[in-house]
């Protein structure tokens, strides 16, 4: 018997959500909602407690069109863009953050390819990724943290004839399997050891010189197939390069805002699920829950505000030719708020549910574990705070310099 089917009925299984979502629900989102209700809700405890990887469901969400916002129409996209990606992640994360996170992985990888100048990879891989035929991950956590001088690069690449040879280990990359692909970025050094820039590449998990190692166990999102990636003299041909070192800075600036902003889908869905747990508890325990610090109305109001801000920023990022680089600080601030509100909402849901929330099969404690993931997945809360502080200081310094400059003639 599966853990999920043995579970007590989940009072939070009404995944339509608690906070008002304005406008007409997109038909794809509606279909994803049905898939979640019929296929994910009965399995959510297996994903959480037995690390079951919902591969068939991920493929079916792709068939339903759930990933098509991440690609341009000529490569299988639906022309609805980042907002649609967020809406799908949000819909799934209302029920299960693990699955919502894997949709983020899938669409992030698709978007990295879409934002590259490599037409061959776009033609060959994008239609298969956005249809769910090919599953995909993103191995850019270390790349991003290293680029922001938080940690050292874990991979290294050297130029070889017709491509790059990569060595090193990435410890935790999600949504992977022997026949999956993922994107990573690694520093390329010349013979003198000097950094020439980053090479962003698409890696096939079954290729020579590459090995997946399954060892890590996590307290949450353990069904997300998070594996270590070993590169040993792994040759990546130029055909699989999304950005060469000379163009990598511009490429990273182009993919970063969308990658981070799409994670808001996880936070929005999770917060919605938490608000539902609070509201359900209030039906019988409102007389005592009223003494808790965070009330459902406050959480829902904050959720609606965050949702509106996310959708607006998605539209702005999508419309910007530079991939939304000019909205970088706004994206970081919103993403930080998303992580903080996730933890706050899950904490409030746990306190509302009380002792029953402490049961292994109760959603409240799972949502609490999931909420911390939103706050610590790259870019983590501390990373976001550091970058926001750094960008704020730079903006202040530029303002001071501008003030110190003599006025230009009009």
């Amino acid at each position: 018997m599966s853990v999920s089917s043995a579970a007590a009925p989940n009072m939070a299984s009404d995944i339509c959500g608690i906070a008002a979502q304005v406008g007409v629900v997109d038909s794809v989102v509606a279909e994803v909602r049905e898939l979640v209700k019929k296929r994910l809700t009965p399995k959510v405890l297996d994903v959480d407690l037995k690390a079951e990887y919902p591969e068939d469901l991920l493929r079916d969400i792709g068939k339903a069109g759930g990933y098509r916002g991440a690609a341009s129409p000529e490569y299988g996209g639906n022309d609805l863009g980042l907002r649609h990606v967020v809406e799908v992640i949000e819909e799934v994360s209302k029920e299960c953050l693990s699955t919502g996170f894997m949709i983020w992985c899938q669409t992030a990888c698709a978007r990295y390819i879409d934002q590259s100048d490599n037409t061959w990879v776009k033609e060959c891989y994008l239609p298969r990724i956005v249809s769910g035929e090919l599953l995909a991950g993103t191995g850019l956590s270390n790349t991003m943290k290293s680029a922001d001088t938080i940690e050292d690069y874990r991979l290294s690449a050297r130029r070889a004839e017709g491509g790059y040879v990569i060595n090193g280990v990435l410890p935790w990359v999600s949504n992977l399997g022997p026949d999956h692909v993922f994107v990573t970025g690694c520093p390329v050094r010349g013979a003198d050891g000097e950094l020439q820039g980053l090479a962003f590449v698409l890696v096939e998990c079954g290729q020579p010189g590459f090995r997946l190692v399954d060892c890590a166990r996590f307290i949450g999102l353990d069904g997300a197939r998070t594996l270590a990636c070993h590169f040993k003299e792994c040759f990546i041909p130029d055909a699989m390069v999304l950005a060469q070192p000379s163009e990598s800075a511009a490429y990273l600036a182009r993919i970063k805002p969308g990658m981070i902003l799409a994670q808001m889908g996880m936070g929005l869905g999770l917060i919605d699920g938490c608000a539902l747990l609070m509201e359900q508890s209030n039906r019988t325990h409102g007389h005592v829950n009223q003494y808790l610090d965070d009330q459902v109305g406050e959480v829902v109001a904050a959720l609606e505000e965050a949702r509106t801000a996310t959708y607006d920023l998605c539209d702005a990022v999508e419309a910007d030719a530079g991939g939304g680089a000019r909205y970088g600080l706004d994206v970081l601030k919103l993403r930080l708020a998303g992580g903080e509100l996730s933890v706050r909402a899950a904490h409030a849901a746990m306190l509302h549910q009380g002792a029953k929330g402490y049961l292994v099969r109760n959603a409240a404690q799972r949502r609490l574990r999931e909420a911390y993931f939103v706050a610590i997945v790259t870019p983590a809360t501390k990373h976001l705070r550091r970058e926001i502080a750094r960008m704020g200081s730079e903006a202040q310094a530029m303002g001071s310099e501008a003030q110190a400059l003599p006025a230009c003639a009009a």
Partner: protein, 64 residues
């Protein structure tokens, strides 16, 4: 004196810098193919951290 230093080296615990998993040569890692009493230096190079999958290169001697 040299003998004492070698003995110290063989009992030194090593910590994974990625996930904090600790290798204790006294205990070894029998469930991962490393017998008790195996010094860290004698672990094969293709061995990986049981917790996060990184290689020996990501381990450092444990600082007390």
């Amino acid at each position: 004196m040299i003998e004492a230093t070698e003995q110290t080296a063989e009992t030194t615990q090593w910590v994974c810098m990625v996930c904090n998993w600790i290798y204790d040569p006294v205990v070894g890692a029998p469930e991962h193919g490393i017998a008790a009493g195996t010094a860290f230096a004698d672990i094969p190079d293709d061995w990986y951290c049981p917790e996060c999958g990184v290689t020996k290169a990501d381990f450092e001697p444990m600082q007390r």
